[in-house]
């Protein structure tokens, strides 16, 4: 008991995380100064907020009493675009990221290939979806095709990195056993690596499918097709009940995807 003082015989709690008193207090002081500076630089316009409250209330009402019917054809079109974009982009992304992931695993590929693949992964991961979408829309024109390319590109960085890390973590004794039978490199991948990483690869692909759907709702804002464009239009027109309907559908689809991917993962493993 470090905190028992002899006079009061009272137990005081030892400090958490940071042991040194001086460092702890200087961190607290620094944080306080930053907070004051940061909050004071936020300009809040109370009149505008007050004015917006009525609109906010209308939005809450729109969310509680959503209007699915009056813009149904637009909403349907948006969701069809989003879902088809999501699936094709995930499949294309997985197909491309498997060879890149294998190439980026240090234990099974030569250094030159390793470096090239790691560069591709770093490039794909450091650029955000929205920025990539802006560039692809400028190159390929508006519409879901640019969205498809964006999501595929983002999938590559995510999946290839996690797959490569997974391959680096595999049980080496199995590769050794397969190698001892005189197997070629492709046989080595097929019989020693693939069975070990397949369940996780499927799990990751499903997770990425889920992420891609959520992202597809966003990249529409910059013109890359999908439900985001519909949502943006609905909010611009102040049709909060239609926007509420779209948001509820997004939440339901994400929930459904999360539950079903849990089942598929259990079934695969």
């Amino acid at each position: 008991m470090s905190g028992v003082s002899s006079r009061a015989r009272q137990w005081t709690r030892p400090p958490v995380l940071i042991k040194s008193d001086r460092l702890r207090w200087s961190i607290y002081a620094g944080a306080l100064i930053y907070l004051v500076l940061a909050i004071s630089s936020v300009d809040i316009n109370p009149a505008r907020i007050y004015e917006g409250l009525e609109r906010g209330w209308r939005f809450v009402q729109g969310f509680l009493v959503p209007d699915f019917t009056s813009r149904w054809s637009d909403i349907q079109q948006g969701f069809i675009e989003s879902l088809s974009m999501t699936l094709t982009a995930t499949v294309a992304g997985v197909l491309i990221s498997v060879p890149i992931g294998i190439g980026a695993a240090r234990n099974i590929s030569p250094t030159a290939v390793y470096l090239v693949c790691r560069t591709i992964i770093a490039l794909s991961r450091s650029l955000q979806e929205i920025i990539v979408a802006i560039l692809f829309v400028a190159m390929f024109g508006f519409g879901p095709f640019a969205g498809f390319l964006t999501l595929s590109f983002a999938t590559i960085g995510f999946l290839a990195k996690l797959l490569a890390e997974d391959i680096e973590d595999i049980d080496e004794s199995q590769t050794e056993a397969i190698r001892a039978t005189g197997a070629s490199w492709t046989q080595l991948i097929n019989y020693a690596v693939q069975p070990q990483v397949m369940p996780r690869l499927i799990g990751l692909s499903l997770y990425r499918l889920d992420i891609n759907f959520r992202e597809s709702a966003v990249i529409g804002i910059v013109g890359a097709g999908g439900i985001g464009a519909t949502l943006n239009t609905a909010i611009d027109r102040y049709e909060y009940d239609s926007a509420g309907a779209i948001l509820i559908l997004i939440i339901l689809i994400v929930m459904a995807a999360e539950y079903s991917s849990g089942y598929v993962r259990k079934w695969v493993q």
């Binding site: 995380l17 300009d43 939005f59 699936l87 929205i130 390929f140 804002i221 909010i235």
Partner: protein, 271 residues
């Protein structure tokens, strides 16, 4: 290990044939669905534009370099705003996420039938809506500016932090809770002395991780008017000032890189 008699010899196969066929059928179904989706998606695609893309890309690249370096002094203030949006938004999110997490965890929730479903719904709703969409809504409601960005980041962070935190709370060592409650501690004291010390490192890790993600997301919130460096991006895109766009991309990349480095260092120090 199924062995199949084929002709006069036995052949080893990886799987029994019924399972083999069902797996094969599953892949066929996936392939068919993908092809169908591809057709639906590309129905309205104008292929002339796609064929034209390499030329467009070259054109764009020639416009984008060199970046307009002198624009940097107009970016410093928005950058400060961006960092504030991310930091204050994360703090706001944490503030709401902690009670939600305690309400959602099976072992600390006040009521499993009433409170827990509500907390789980808050988590799902906040998680499935991207911060850019939150910003879109909030800009419409409370007007453009940094405040909308902070609230958007905060709302999005609630679900993320609360989900990871409640999972951490559910995984704690129950014997410590038992030991504290054996001393006659109240509910609040049990949470304070038995649960909080166990989840604190995980909580700090999650918060820093979310802060890092929020820096990333707050750089683009300005596209819908929610303040930060994204406003400058939107303004430059609208007037097709590609050299400025390049510089903004570089600044965003550098910021993201620094925040990732900071978060990795802090998490290393904590865990």
């Amino acid at each position: 290990m199924p062995v199949i008699v084929r002709g006069n010899g036995k052949t080893w196969q990886k799987r029994a044939s019924a399972r083999q066929w069902s797996i094969w059928f599953g892949w066929l179904l996936l392939a068919a669905l993908t092809v169908y989706c591809w057709q639906v998606m590309t129905k309205d695609t104008i292929w002339a534009f796609v064929q034209d893309a390499p030329r467009q890309a070259a054109d764009l690249a020639s416009r984008m370099v060199p970046p307009r370096w002198s624009y940097i002094d107009k970016l410093l203030w928005p950058l400060w705003d961006t960092i504030n949006i991310a930091t204050l938004g994360t703090l706001l999110g944490i503030l709401f996420a902690v009670p939600v997490a305690f309400m959602a965890a099976r072992n600390t929730t006040p009521s499993r039938t009433l409170v827990r479903p509500v907390a789980l719904f808050i988590i799902v709703a906040s998680r499935s809506i991207n911060s850019l969409i939150w910003a879109l809504l909030l800009v419409a409601v409370i007007g453009p500016g940094v405040l909308a960005g902070i609230l958007a980041i905060g709302f999005r962070s609630i679900g993320f932090v609360a989900k990871l935190l409640y999972e951490a709370i559910e995984e704690i060592d129950e014997t410590q809770v038992e030991a504290i409650s054996a001393t006659g501690a109240s509910r609040a004291q049990i949470i304070d002395y038995a649960i909080v010390p166990q989840v604190l490192p995980a909580f700090c890790g999650i918060s820093v991780f979310r802060w890092d993600i929020n820096i990333r997301e707050s750089t683009i919130l300005g596209l819908v008017g929610a303040g930060g460096i994204g406003l400058q991006l939107q303004a430059s895109l609208n007037v097709l000032a590609w050299p400025q766009v390049t510089l903004i991309f570089l600044v965003i990349l550098a910021t993201v890189f620094v925040s990732e480095w900071v978060s990795a260092k802090v998490r290393q120090a904590i865990i």
